[in-house]
């Protein structure tokens, strides 16, 4: 393996600004996104209604319980977290008065002692004041072994939580863990005074009628149809400007688009407008339709536990045989962004200097020839008794992926590689089959970052291989000691600049090792009505409705 030093400078002015913001000067430089300016005297009365269309139904309203992406839309509107991740990938204070850092003393030099100062003017939707007791209760509920909590990584390191005053809380970490700061952006605070009375937090009435501190209050839910929120006039942040926020469940993607077209839906969230409607949607009058890259990478995921893929030459040859441009342009209707890394382009940690893949079948054949993979009588290459034949699986019914599979099947055949297709329904595909690495290869959109933190340990570290008894989601069974060491180092360091060097290097090694073959960065077709202002996409969250507080109708 050839290694190059990562000293190439690719810092721009924009990056420098981000750096300063990360460094704690956020309130001075970054636009005051989430906090109401102190001098804002007049508040306008919220008016109008926004109907957000979703193709899956949000059903989990306790934000700490195990939930899926689509539930986030409601959580981000009803609840607040200590901090929030803005579209630039920079943390901003939300319920915290400032983002804790080593510079401002919020995090100790060794990364073990944390102190968070809270806003003193926040109230729950029922009028009770929000205090440090609520933060303590929230963090403890997550690690309560009887509670069906969502993600616990990071939270399980927290101990010795102390409420210093109603606006100050401290805790100790069992080990220095930098990603935890980002995790807090997806850890919504729940009210102690309501949930502490419940015998079983899993079945609490609160879960069906949540009370938060967010810009919108719970109003009602018509199961299977829609959820209705109303403006919280006492919200401490900027907004809300619309009086009513409705999340409408439209199970069929085509119907979702039709209702957007007909005007029944004002904004299309999860799972957005399908690529085949993009060209038409773009030309709709009075609609704003844009392409926004998401956090996940569409790729051919290889199970490195299979003998076919142990040879780097095979992975290189397969990658060279992928006509990615043709796939994105012709199959995906141009909706997709070519990339070489798992790091989203929107991330501060994105490495733009990776070698660019080139589609070249001759080169692919040459790589395999040189590595000793010789075509057998059936035209399929083999080496040491291993045939270059494998199965590719994905969620059945996903037309675009199925067409891509057929496309790849043909080009792979041209270099003497046999790819069979066997697709499965989602509940089967992403169960043990995926988690326990029972697939050969999968066509999948994988998100590597948790809460937009660059730490990809869960996907790339050797100890995260569940199929080998590890604790994590490294389903491709990728293992590289150098990457392991870098990931361990990166998780302990808090300085963003220093971390960037580490994760740029990780991306370089992963690009070289090719444990998965990148196809394109997932790109969503977002649509909204013209006149709906204040909308901002945010690739660092999982929902387009991450900041509905700022939405307003043009007068």
């Amino acid at each position: 393996m050839t290694r190059q030093p990562t000293t190439t400078s690719n810092y721009s002015r924009r990056d420098a600004l981000r750096m300063m913001a990360i460094g704690g000067a956020a309130s001075l430089i970054a636009p005051n996104l989430l906090g109401k300016p102190a001098f804002a005297g007049t508040t306008t009365k919220p008016t109008g209604r926004v109907v957000v269309g979703l193709s899956q139904e949000p059903t989990v309203f306790n934000p700490l319980m195990a939930h899926i992406e689509v539930d986030d839309a409601v959580h981000f509107s009803v609840f607040d977290a200590l901090v929030r991740m803005d579209p630039e990938g920079v943390l901003q204070p939300n319920l915290a008065a400032e983002v804790p850092s080593q510079k401002n003393g919020g995090i100790s030099e060794d990364g073990l002692n944390w102190r968070v100062r809270l806003r003193d003017d926040v109230h729950w939707h029922d009028g009770e004041p929000f205090t440090a007791e609520d933060v303590k209760f929230t963090l403890e509920l997550i690690t309560n072994p009887k509670f069906r909590a969502w993600r616990t990584s990071g939270h399980s390191l927290v101990e010795d939580i102390k409420v210093v005053s109603p606006t100050e809380i401290t805790w100790r970490m069992k080990e220095a863990f930098a990603p935890y700061l980002s995790f807090l952006a997806e850890t919504f605070m729940v009210p102690k005074h309501i949930l502490e009375k419940e015998a079983d937090p899993n079945t609490a009435a609160f879960n069906q009628a949540p009370i938060g501190t967010g810009a919108f209050k719970w109003n009602q839910r018509v199961a299977g149809d829609h959820i209705e929120l109303v403006a919280n006039p006492d919200y401490v942040g900027d907004g809300p400007y619309v009086e009513q926020l409705v999340f409408k469940y439209i199970p069929d993607m085509t119907v979702l688009y039709t209702q957007f077209k007909s005007g029944d839906v004002d904004l299309v969230d999860q799972s957005y407008i399908t690529a085949d409607h993009y060209a038409e949607a773009r030309d709709l009058p009075d609609r704003v339709v844009t392409l926004e890259t998401g956090a996940s990478l569409e790729s051919i995921y290889l199970n490195l536990g299979r003998p076919q893929f142990k040879d780097l030459a095979v992975r290189q040859a397969l990658y060279a045989a992928m006509d990615r441009k043709a796939i994105v342009d012709t199959i995906y209707y141009g909706v997709g962004t070519l990339t070489e890394t798992f790091m989203p382009k929107e991330s501060y940690y994105y490495n733009p200097n990776l070698p660019v893949q080139e589609f070249n079948l001759d080169r692919a054949r040459q790589i395999l020839d040189e590595a000793g993979w010789v075509p057998g009588p059936d035209g399929i290459r083999a080496k040491d008794g291993v045939r270059l034949s494998f199965t590719n699986s994905t969620t059945s019914g996903n037309n675009l992926r199925e067409q891509t599979q057929q496309f790849l099947q043909q080009t792979f055949a041209e270099i003497g590689v046999e790819m069979k297709i066997s697709n499965l329904p989602p509940a089967v595909m992403w169960g043990e089959f995926w988690l326990k690495s029972q697939f050969d290869t999968a066509m999948v959109g994988v998100t590597y970052l948790i809460a937009a933190d660059p730490d990809a340990t869960n996907r790339l570290h050797t100890k995260a291989i569940a199929a080998q008894g590890g604790h994590g989601s490294n389903t491709g069974q990728y293992s590289n000691p150098e990457v392991d060491a870098l990931l361990e180092k990166g998780a302990r360091i808090f300085d963003p600049e220093e971390r960037r060097g580490i994760y740029n290097r990780v991306q370089e090694i992963v690009r070289h090792d090719l444990p998965f073959l990148p196809l394109s960065a997932l790109t969503n077709v977002l649509g909204r009505k013209k006149g709906l202002d204040g909308f901002e996409p945010n690739a660092n969250t999982r929902t387009a409705s991450w900041h509905a507080a700022g939405w307003k109708w043009k007068a």
Binding site: I68, T152, G224, A427, T447, Y448
Partner: protein
């Protein structure tokens, strides 16, 4: 009568147990399971998934899971949804109204229109009307409902703009007129198949009754054709319809999978599909038991009603 009821009830109980075992078995045999929805979540580690498995009781042997579920059910506890922790009965209850509205109205249409077509076809056998009704019924029975639904949406919603394309109501509009407006298209589409079924059964039953001796006697007595039809023929022809109604009624509450999806109707059919998609075992099992109970109950009621209405039938 009492013996009959006891006998039928004990049969039903055995049936329910068998249905529940088969349902539970099939659900659990499906690979994947309720936690597959977190398979792609970058932050859900294998540890997290094992932890949830334990909390949901999915780490126990399947027969223990079944016995535990059945024991609770017998004691009136239908369990909680795996997705949101809400009680299963509450989940079912929150979807019941929508389905009742849709299925109720489509059944009313189906029975009244179907009976009318059937009787008219039988009394004017081999007339143009009868032929058209027969052909129409065959078409309605063979063309899938979703196709009718999509054509209906295309013609009446997109092209003519008369009727809404889906949903139960406009958000923010709770008026009865609004509901009725949304109800027309799905209930008519849904009733098409049932009109066909009802008209065929009604026609056969009416023909049966017409050829009976008591009709000849009535004619011999000099009664008017109208009186014969209304009093003697229809009354007798309706008897088998009661049994048919007993078989059809449960679907009023269990919903229509396809139609509810096409018209984004928030009823029991959608709930069933969604719960199946997420492998939400308690809700799927709850729905299964709910509909099994309804089927058994409605058939039982139909049998009793037939016996009460027709003195010739004695339940033993």
């Amino acid at each position: 009568m009492r013996g009959f009821l006891l006998n039928r009830l004990s049969q039903s109980l055995v049936l329910l147990v068998i249905v529940s075992i088969i349902g539970f078995g099939i659900l659990n045999l499906l690979p994947g399971g309720p936690l597959a929805q977190f398979g792609l979540d970058p932050g859900m580690t294998q540890q997290d998934i094992e932890r949830l498995k334990g909390l949901l009781g999915l780490d126990r042997p399947i027969w223990i899971q079944y016995l535990d579920w059945a024991w609770r059910l017998v004691h009136g506890d239908w369990g909680h949804s795996f997705r949101d922790g809400a009680p299963v009965l509450q989940v079912i209850g929150s979807h019941l109204f929508a389905t009742l509205l849709l299925m109720g109205s489509s059944t009313v249409i189906a029975i009244s229109v179907g009976a009318w077509i059937g009787i008219r076809g039988a009394t004017r056998r081999y007339s143009l009307f009868d032929y058209l009704a027969t052909v129409g019924a065959m078409v309605a029975l063979s063309v899938p409902t979703f196709w009718f639904g999509l054509v209906g949406i295309y013609v009446f919603s997109l092209k003519l703009g008369w009727l809404p394309a889906g949903n139960m109501s406009e958000i923010g509009d709770d008026s009865i007129l609004g509901y009725l407006h949304h109800l027309i298209l799905p209930s008519v589409v849904l009733s098409l198949v049932h009109v066909a079924i009802w008209s065929r059964y009604m026609r056969t039953a009416t023909l049966d009754a017409i050829s009976q001796d008591f009709v000849k006697t009535a004619r011999a007595k000099g009664l008017s054709e109208r009186r014969i039809l209304m009093k003697h023929v229809v009354g007798n022809a309706l008897l088998p319809m009661i049994t048919l109604a007993g078989m059809q009624l449960p679907s009023i509450l269990t919903g229509a999978l396809v139609t509810e999806t096409v018209f984004t109707w928030p009823g029991m059919g959608r709930l069933f599909l969604d719960s199946l998609g997420y492998s939400d075992y308690p809700v799927v099992m709850g729905l299964l038991m709910f509909s099994a109970l309804l089927v058994i109950l409605c058939n039982l009621i139909a049998d009793v009603v037939v016996a009460l209405v027709d003195p010739r039938i004695r339940l033993a």
